[in-house]
């Protein structure tokens, strides 16, 4: 049986704009992945808990509030507590260019800003998941 890639799409923090998150969720669905969508205003604990129960390969975070430098380290910490370091984390939304290196340093796999083609994102996710399996 073909192995399905499972992705959690989550919106941490307090901004209420989830169009981007829904767009990505839909695009990954159309790319043949199983996407678990958790909805708005998720705490870092809620995201890590959902990722654990759903045993996802990838977590996509959509953050538009500017709070990414506060939220992302807490989410990475929660994932470490759950021993889920092997899960790849992607960040999308409004992320200033100068914050990207720091996010990557925290363990984020990639940052996708506005305008990134959804096809590119789904191809990247597939490539990274398959590569990690061969390890």
């Amino acid at each position: 049986m073909e192995r399905k890639i499972r992705v959690l799409i989550a919106k941490p923090g307090l901004d209420g704009h989830d169009r981007g998150a829904k767009l990505i969720a839909r695009a990954l669905r159309d790319a043949g992945m199983e996407v678990i969508y958790t909805g708005l205003r998720q705490t870092p604990q809620m995201i890590a808990e959902a990722a654990l129960q759903e045993d996802v390969d990838v977590i996509g975070l959509s953050i538009l509030s500017g709070a990414h430098m506060g939220l992302v380290p807490r989410i990475m910490e929660e994932l470490r507590k759950n021993k889920m370091e092997d899960v790849s984390v992607f960040v999308g939304g409004i992320i200033p260019e100068e914050d990207v290196p720091a996010l990557l340093e925290m363990g984020v796999t990639a940052v996708y800003g506005p305008g990134t083609a959804t096809q590119f994102i789904s191809d990247e996710i597939r490539r990274i998941v398959l590569a990690s399996e061969e390890e």
Binding site: V35, Q53, N82, M84
Partner: protein, 346 residues
């Protein structure tokens, strides 16, 4: 190793190990099957509750409220939820969105929620939903809620799996002829009209009650239900030592109203679920439903295994040639079958 499943950790309540076990089952891996075999003796404890109904009727919200209620009523009782959503027939992808309605349940270690896609199955569940429920049962979850895909009229697989089936309707479901059709309304042990604050709610309740008055659908036993689906073998019927007296025998399907976003009607629904569980046990029906479920599972495995055996043993070129003949209308599908069965193996 990512693919190894730690059975002891699963049984000890390690959530990460359990999550991986569920993935292995869903992907139908050898290690998943072996682990299921190893824990099978521990299963048969949980009360499996199916929640089905049309898309948007409020299944997820209702499950959210019910589980919250049961956890508050008895914090020692661990509860699992399997939420099934459809896979795309075109891409195989899926958007699993039931967790959105279940955010009240996060942060509670006594609850485990797992979303799953149907992966091509059509009966309202995925092929491995039953096996996943078994794993959760073995892991010590005393209640397992299974939310089906948004169901139409004939996605009734849940009745083969659940002890208690709840059918959720929203107001505006159609007239009494719709309610009298065979299928989804027949399988209900409990009927719930959700969104009871909407104007058509009273109508829906009246229609459903009228439908029930015409004849209660659930008077037949599980063993009788088996006969309506041809199994690959003659079903073994379990007899219960409990003597069936007519008083305890018939379960009256209740029609309840809820407003699940506000928690209205939840306590009554929860109590009916427990009552139904007790009634099943009193009537010896619980065992019969288990027996029906396990035999259905064996039937499905047999079919699947024979199919895989046939696939291994037949040459793809030969099969392709026969199919082409069928497409050119040289052979009918039934003739093609005869040729395939007789024909040239590898």
């Amino acid at each position: 190793m990512k693919n190894q499943i730690d059975v002891n950790a699963v049984l000890a309540g390690d959530r990460r190990a359990l999550a991986r076990f569920l993935t292995a089952i869903e992907n139908e891996t050898a290690s998943g099957r072996q682990t299921l075999d190893a824990v099978f003796k521990r299963t048969g404890q949980a009360h499996i509750i199916g929640v089905t109904g049309s898309p948007g009727a409020g299944k997820s919200s209702l499950v959210n409220q019910l589980v919250k209620y049961f956890r508050q009523a008895d914090p020692s009782k661990k509860i699992a939820i399997i939420a099934v959503d459809p896979s795309s027939p075109f891409t195989g992808g899926a958007l699993l969105g039931d967790r959105v309605r279940m955010r009240d349940l996060s942060g509670d270690e006594g609850i485990f929620i797992r979303s799953m896609a149907t992966r091509g199955a059509l009966g309202g569940l995925a092929r491995t939903t039953s096996a996943m429920a078994e794993a959760l049962d073995a892991a010590g979850f005393e209640m397992i809620f299974i939310e089906t895909v948004g169901a139409g009229q004939s996605e009734v697989d849940i009745v083969r799996l659940a002890h208690t089936t709840i059918v959720v309707e929203a107001p505006g479901m159609g007239d009494d002829i719709q309610a009298s059709k065979a299928g989804i309304l027949e399988i209900a042990d409990i009927l719930v009209v959700n969104k009871a604050d909407q104007p058509m709610a009273e109508n829906a309740v009246r229609t459903l009650k009228a439908m029930l008055e015409l004849g209660h659908p659930i008077v037949q036993s599980a063993a009788e239900r088996l006969h309506h689906r041809a199994l690959a073998f003659e079903a073994v019927e379990v007899t219960s030592d409990i003597h069936q007296n007519s008083e305890a025998e018939s379960w009256q399907v209740p029609v309840l109203t809820t407003i699940s976003t506000e928690g209205v009607g939840i306590q009554e629904t929860a109590e009916k679920i427990l009552e139904h569980g007790v009634a099943l046990k009193q009537r010896g029906e619980w065992k019969k439903r288990e027996a029906a479920r396990l035999q259905e599972a064996l039937h499905d495995l047999l079919i699947q295994t024979f199919l895989e055996k046939w696939q291994r043993e037949s040459s793809s070129d030969f099969v392709q040639a026969v199919i082409r003949d069928m497409l050119n209308r040289v052979h009918s599908p039934h003739q093609a079958l005869q040729i395939l069965i007789k024909g040239q193996n590898k």
